[in-house]
Amino acid sequence: MKKSLAFLLFGLMFFGLNAQNKSDLPNITLKDLDGQSINIAELSNDGKPFVMTFWATWCGPCVKEHNALSDVYDDWVEETGVKIFSVSIDDARSTAKIKPFVDGKGWPFEILLDVNKELARAMNVNNPPHTFLFDGDGKIVWQHTGYLDGGEEDLYQEILKISK
């Protein structure tokens, strides 16, 4: 039993090796607000940097961060072409509420639903808010946990560093 399990493991690794995996994005499928399946490994922003931020409706600092990002988003996009993917880790309690919540707040980000924290686990997110900055190739260049008022400015400085 143990032996066959070990072989299975190595077999899986062997297959893994043959795949192209240049980015830090895991092969996980989540849904967007329209119920469409999105493969995270295929996320990109046409070679420009993008942000992935984990949040939840019950997380006060997360909502603050999103409000702050929403206020400056148009300027950031104009200046750097950056894109924000916002990943909700709310469970089934709130799945149906996310779309009206996000629209009601007027947030312009692309929202993904991580209902059982599959992506959060794969990305080693312990607590929300947790924000990642990816370069155009999907490599993590910066990450930050927590949000303190004004923290979005530091994210912007990091974006400026990699967008020329």
Partner: protein, 583 residues
């Protein structure tokens, strides 16, 4: 020995052929968290040496390591829980070891996982395995899972395994109280818009799904009230779901059913369980409205028929009500009632547009929320000529589907206004009206329900780009006044009753430093001895993905709830340190 050398040859072989690739494509990542507590005696809030029981130190930590190579991922999590009576964790969580390990291959079409599995079918009504570190909750399924996506928009899943139960072994020779049945499940989902070309860009969106889950436990007969009852070996459950969207409207629903499943939790009745969840939402930029309803009837579904509390749940019953995060209303959080409940939830989010009289320069955000949860109606059934309700060995009761039970468990009406006044000032105001059936939710027989009004206000002043001050004020008016007469023996129900006042003052230097001081004062408690201040101070530092926080002071008794599952934390006094990081 021969096996091991065979393995070594195999590994060396791969390394030799793919050595370069191995190094380039391998990726190791992980995360770490540790919470340490030191508790001390505090006669002011009734914490004596006996309560602490010589266990002043509590420490809870985990470390997770993950290895990725292309489509292959493997990892494990080491956990250590050194619980104490003051920490409020279930004492069975105490222990340490590798609690979780897994290996996955997923190329987007086919996926296989062996080891500890976290997954959810639909809304999780018939299957959800997940973990909540803060609750000490983990029901990961140890076994095997396969996912197959034959064409765009179609996902098929199958899984098989045994749930985690604290530190209990997975073999056959575990005591009855720690044994778990095998859980087997299949799920299918079809997203019509992705698979049908003509629907790709349609305004009409549709997804359908169905699942089937069964648990198998050894045959047994149990004596309940002197009567011998035969327990079913297999208990099946199934669910169907539908998600429809048209333009700005979305309708989603899921219905689940479970066949006879007598258990300690439902008092050994053989009635089928059922659950319905439905939501209707409308949303456009600046306005979101959602109405949700649910009905739960005898839906506790556990992999050990003797399990009680939150142990070994196979299905998940999502609560629908609003999750309060402010310290006073969150003392009265609702916990789902798997035996029966009917709930409704209505929420509106609206942003008054920018550059209008009420919207000002930045717009004004409004939120309204109403939720109510009642019991279901139960009618007695006729057994051998006698009318009875909820008798072991019977079908228990009948329950008309659309009839709402008289007893209200919880009601919450709240309204929030949030306004950025200018670049310096930010204001949030909230009003909350709560009804909380303490007798049912906290299992305190004879306890009076809480009917409270709570006002909340928060103002943030931004001194400059990095420095901000935040002040939070809260007041709660309880229906129990300071002169309330208390029935003998019910004193423990009043530890958090009566009026409260709370404040929090925080200074932050983004993105790294925060310091805060807070007080909760139960000045209106009917028991003079309980009119206590709960003063705490916190200090923290964040560097990128690492966060270190120290806090000290008094913690009031309360429920820590995540996703409808709660843990009771006793009042305590002490200091705590939290470190969290990832790499």
């Amino acid at each position: 020995m021969k096996k091991i050398s065979l393995l070594i040859v195999f590994v060396l072989g791969i390394t030799a052929v793919y050595g370069q690739d191995f190094l380039k494509k391998s990726k190791v990542s992980g995360s770490f968290q540790m919470d340490g507590n030191y508790y001390w005696e505090d006669k002011g809030i009734g914490i004596t040496k006996e309560d602490i029981n010589g266990e002043e130190f509590g420490a809870y930590g985990f470390g997770k390591l993950q290895y990725q190579l292309g489509n292959f991922t493997a990892g494990f999590r080491f956990e250590a829980y050194q619980t104490t009576p003051m920490s409020g964790f279930d004492s069975r969580v105490k222990g340490m070891g590798i609690a979780n390990y897994f290996a996955t291959y997923d190329d987007g079409t086919i996926g296989v996982t062996v080891g500890d599995i976290y997954d959810q079918f639909g809304n999780g009504l018939v299957f959800r395995s997940y973990e909540e570190w803060t609750l000490g909750f983990d029901n990961a399924l140890r076994g095997i899972r396969a996912v197959y996506r034959p064409w765009e928009g179609v996902t098929l899943k199958g899984l098989y395994g045994k749930q985690r139960f604290y530190w209990a072994g997975y073999g056959e020779n575990v005591p009855t109280s720690e044994s778990r049945g095998m859980v087997r499940g299949v799920d299918g989902e079809w997203d019509l818009n992705s698979s049908i070309a003509s629907m790709n860009n349609s305004k009409f969106r549709a997804t359908v799904g169905a699942s089937f889950v069964s648990k198998y436990e050894d045959a047994s007969t149990l004596f309940v009230n002197g009567e011998e009852l035969v327990m079913p070996q297999n208990v099946a459950s199934y669910a169907g779901r539908l998600n429809l969207g048209y333009g700005r409207f979305t309708f989603s629903t899921e219905y689940a059913r479970k066949i006879n499943d007598p258990s300690e939790f439902n008092n050994y009745i053989y009635k089928d369980g059922q659950e319905l969840l439905a939501s209707l939402a409308y949303s456009q930029k600046g306005l979101g409205v959602v109405l949700q309803v649910k009905r739960v009837d005898n839906m506790s579904f556990k992999s050990n028929r003797l399990a009680t509390q939150n142990d070994l749940d196979i299905g998940f019953i999502p609560p629908l009500n609003y999750t309060h995060t402010h310290s006073l209303p969150s003392m009265f959080s609702y916990a789902t009632q798997p035996l029966g409940e009917m709930g409704v939830q209505f929420q509106v989010n609206y942003t008054i547009p920018k550059n209008t009289a009420l919207g000002g320069k930045y717009g004004t955000k409004l939120a309204f929320n109403y939720s109510q949860v009642n019991d279901i109606k139960r009618d007695s059934i006729n057994v051998n000529g006698v009318n009875m309700l909820n008798q072991p060995g019977t079908k228990g009761y009948t329950s008309p589907f659309f009839a709402v039970g008289d007893r209200m468990f919880y009601r919450d009406l709240n309204f929030e206004v949030e306004k950025k006044i200018n670049t310096k000032w930010h204001l949030t105001l909230m009003y909350i009206n709560l009804y909380y059936d303490m007798e049912t939710i906290e299992n305190h027989p004879g306890a009076e329900a809480v009917e409270a009004n709570i006002a909340f206000g928060e103002v943030i002043y931004k001194i400059n780009r990095n420095n901000s001050i935040r002040l939070e004020l809260q007041h709660m008016w309880d229906n129990v006044g300071p002169n309330h007469t208390i029935e003998p023996g019910h004193e423990s129900y009043y530890t958090k009753r009566g009026n409260w006042f709370a404040f929090l003052l925080e200074y932050t230097i983004a993105p790294k430093w925060f310091v805060s001081v807070a007080d909760k004062y139960n000045y209106g408690n009917p028991i003079a001895d309980n009119r206590d201040h709960y003063i705490t101070g916190s200090f923290g530092y964040i560097k990128d993905q690492t966060r270190i926080a120290i806090s000290g002071g008094r913690q009031s008794e309360g429920l820590v709830c995540v996703g409808g599952v709660c843990r009771t934390v006793p009042a305590s006094s002490g200091i705590s340190l939290t470190i969290t990081t990832s790499f």
